[in-house]
């Protein structure tokens, strides 16, 4: 019998279509794997099923009855619970208070919360899982990441779920934690309950799931049985057949000057990435790829002097200068486009002009004086170069579209004439037309002899525009690919996961 049926679910975030006509049917007693690349919509789907966000349209049925959760607690009362990918516990509360969040009324006595009862109940929950080192009355923030995940797990199971969603949790767990988790999943299955298991670890998915659903770009590609399923064929499904995109570079070989402009040596940031060494050449687009948490985003920030590495050096070769902070980085020709455009890339409540000119003020000034005419000139020429759609350069960035915002964030470094650009997910959440113009711009800059580091979570993009691709896994360089015609996503994925 069907436990959960999802029909034609659509979800659009401001500019991106996260889910498109998603239909899913989970049987009772089934452990269903859910795999796909970053941004394929797995977590969005999980959030919708667990009531954290609402779909734009579409229907859901649980045990063939309409199911429309309005909140996580709502979903819990329908016996559906989730362990989220990010931190799902609240700092400052005790372990027990986290487990029974929203269920405090169970322990109410004369209007007061009976914490000792709550702690006792928590102990019982833990004992069942064989967890004996977590005390219910400790502050959750004093626990390790793994312990917190186990607390979340206990909390999700306490609901007594018919359907448990596990979103990218195993990566945080040790072998012992995993054993506890999979043991419980099996127990759920044997009592005719179901699990949706989201993971990047394909081997794990094949070992523990009955069927796997593959998602790509917000759509469901296929659902296959894990019997006799090979990891490689699952990867092929994830990557899918691709239409040849015309907006990428047309040459098929790496092409850049021998001159090294940036040298990174043994760069380590404890807890994020380790022993990163590479050189960047004049006229080169160097792609850096990996999973979201492989350390590449923090690496980008470090290169721009925003993070202090634990050890190692970043050197602008031509000027024989080591980069230790962001002011120096900019002065020595670096530019940085952050991944988080609205919080880090732009001042939304400032004008296009102010945003574009900010990094260039030191260049514009003459004896501290910055001429308003010069500012206008810089902003207008920059805006024209990237054909930003706007009413005037005095317009606030807040009301621009995502693509136009990205253009403004990029223009900052164009007008400053930066020689080395670090672009973190330059085409994230923007439409195809702007994407194409950004790729064109990167090509133009490359032709002019600028050097670009492009950090990206999209393999296609990495293959499409990079001269070389550095692949990171768990913070270490696993492989460096050179541009070639027959480079495939499967080849790269192999080193990422």
């Amino acid at each position: 019998m069907s436990l959960l049926r999802v029909e034609d679910i659509n979800k659009t975030f401001v500019t991106t279509r996260a889910l498109r006509d998603v239909t899913l049917n989970i049987q009772e007693g089934e452990i269903r794997g859910l795999v796909g690349e970053n941004g394929s919509g797995k977590s969005t789907l999980a959030s919708i099923i667990s009531g954290i966000i609402y779909p734009d349209n579409g229907k859901m049925f649980k045990h063939e009855k309409p199911y429309n959760p309005r909140s996580l607690l709502d979903a819990n009362s329908s016996k559906i619970s989730i362990i989220v990918q990010e931190m799902g516990t609240i700092d400052g509360l005790t372990v027990a208070a986290n487990i029974f969040l929203g269920e405090e009324k169970l322990f109410k006595k004369f209007g007061f919360l009976n914490t000792s009862n709550m702690n006792k109940s928590s102990m019982k929950v833990f004992q069942r899982f064989g967890i004996d080192n977590i005390k219910p009355d400790t502050d959750i923030s004093s626990l390790s990441f793994e312990e917190r995940k186990l607390v979340e797990f206990a909390k999700a199971l306490y609901v007594g779920p018919d359907l448990l969603i596990v979103d990218e949790t195993t990566a945080a767990l040790s072998q012992h934690g995993r054993e506890i988790l999979f043991g419980e999943l099996e127990r759920l299955k044997s009592s005719n309950r179901s699990v949706i298991f989201i993971s990047h670890d394909l081997g794990e998915v094949i070992d523990h799931c009955d069927n796997v659903t593959v998602m790509k770009d917000g759509e469901i590609v296929d659902t296959v049985s894990t019997q006799d399923l090979k990891e490689s064929s699952l990867k092929e499904l994830m990557v899918g057949r691709e239409l040849q995109q015309t907006y990428y570079r047309e040459d098929t070989e790496a092409f850049y000057s021998d001159e090294v402009v940036l040298r990174v040596s043994d760069l380590t940031l404890e807890g994020s990435y380790y022993d990163i060494s590479f050189v960047l050449h004049r006229g080169e687009i160097l792609g850096i790829g990996g999973l979201t948490n492989c350390g590449m985003h923090l690496l980008g920030k470090t290169l721009f002097g925003l993070e202090s590495p634990s050890s190692g050096t970043i050197e602008v070769v031509e000027r024989n200068k080591r980069i230790t902070n962001y002011v120096e980085a900019i002065a020595n020709g670096l530019g940085y486009l952050p991944k988080n455009r609205d919080q880090e890339g732009l001042m939304l409540l400032s004008s296009i002009k102010e945003n574009i000119c900010l990094p260039s003020l030191s260049k514009m000034q003459r004896n501290t004086f910055i001429s308003p005419r010069k500012e206008r000139g810089f902003a207008e020429s920059g805006a024209r170069q990237l054909s930003i759609k706007m009413s005037s350069i005095n317009q606030f960035c807040l009301y621009l579209s995502g693509g136009n915002k990205q253009k403004v964030a990029l223009t900052k470094w164009l007008v400053r004439d930066s020689d080395i650009l670090i672009l973190d997910c330059p085409t994230r959440g923007i439409d195809v037309a702007v994407k194409a113009s950004i790729y064109n711009l990167m090509q133009e800059l490359k032709d002019k002899g600028k050097a670009i580091i492009m950090i990206s979570e999209e393999l296609q993009e990495l293959i499409g525009v990079s001269d070389r691709i550095v692949v990171l896994k768990d913070g270490r360089i696993k492989k460096v690919f050179s541009r070639r015609k027959d480079l495939t996503e499967e080849e790269i994925i192999h080193f990422m996961i």
């Binding site: 919080q343 880090e344 890339g345 409540l349 900010l358 003020l361 030191s362 501290t368 004086f369």
Partner: protein, 304 residues
């Protein structure tokens, strides 16, 4: 900000002049009274000018009232030894306090509201100690310094210089960028920590100057000097159109317009005969009203 919002402070200024002009049957605008208003406004406008740099970053400076007190006390104490020491000591006091405020904010990431509030209490305590809970008179020969020439020259010079740095240099632009979005400003190369310290330094040194001006005008440093002055500054700036969140719509004009408005308002209330206790209450209500009218709610959600 829409066009109408920009001119609201100017309309407010005109309204206050008209209302109190009418209520006092023109007494407000007599030459003698205008001189009185000017005397009150000078100190307020200069201090507001300094705090403008702080508020443009989206921070607050509530230490000003007590700083006015302690810098005045320092000026008066040292004037007893040598009258030439009075001004440098007042300025040094302002610089020191500004440096402490700015460094605490920049390096220890304590909210500016808390830092400067603590500073307000601390400095008030020191002022009471320095004045022995009473007042310190200044030497008679300093009375001559209370001249309109000096005050007008100082006011104009400070406003011109402040206007230049606020609008045409990296300092003002960088500070407003911090108010618009600290992270983005940093990522665009604004030296955030340095800017924060500099803002409090400017605010402190100008308040130190006000402390000296105040002592020279009143002839003594009192333990109560500057009480609630910080709230007058805040009210004046908000009345003048300064957004509490700072950012790109922060303007130095707010200091001038707001300072004038509050000086006229205070003076007018005295002329009309409103009791001193009630005057504070009226100011409080006006402050709330000004914040309500000028608060950009949508931007607060975005920034903080």
């Amino acid at each position: 900000m829409s066009g109408i919002k920009k001119i609201i402070p100017y309309i407010g200024l005109v309204l206050i002049i008209v209302i109190f002009g009418a209520l006092t049957q023109g007494k407000l605008l007599t030459f003698r009274n205008l001189k009185l208003i000017f005397n009150q406004a000078v100190v307020l406008i200069i201090a507001c000018g300094g705090v403008t740099f702080v508020m443009s970053q989206g921070s607050l400076d509530l230490s000003q009232g007590s700083l006015l007190g302690i810098s005045g006390a320092m000026a008066a104490t040292f004037a007893a030894m040598n009258t030439a020491l009075a001004l440098p000591m007042a300025l040094l006091t302002g610089i020191a306090v500004g440096l402490i405020n700015g460094s605490l904010l920049a390096f220890f990431k304590i909210p500016s509201f808390i830092i400067t509030l603590c500073m307000l209490f601390t400095l008030r305590g020191l002022t009471v100690i320095a004045t022995h809970s009473g007042s310190i008179p200044i030497p008679f020969e300093m009375f001559g310094l209370d001249s309109y020439q000096i005050k007008v020259t100082l006011l104009v010079a400070i406003l011109v210089i402040a206007y230049y740095f606020f609008n045409y240099t990296r300092i003002g632009k960088g500070m407003r960028a911090i108010g618009s979005g600290e992270v983005s400003a940093r990522y665009s190369g604004v030296p955030v920590e340095r800017m924060k310290i500099l803002a409090y330094l400017i605010s402190g040194v100008l308040c130190g100057l006000c402390g000296w001006l105040n002592v020279v005008r009143t002839g003594a440093a009192d333990s109560k000097t500057g009480l609630l002055f910080e709230l007058d500054i805040l009210t004046a700036l908000v009345l003048g159109g300064m957004p509490l969140t700072g950012g790109s719509s922060a303007k130095l004009q707010s200091a001038i317009i707001g300072g004038l408005m509050l000086a006229i308002l205070s003076n007018g209330m005295v002329l009309v005969g409103i009791k001193a206790e009630l005057q504070q209450a009226v100011k409080g209500v006006i402050f709330l009203l000004a914040v309500y009218l000028s608060f950009e709610r949508e931007s607060v959600v975005l920034i903080k």
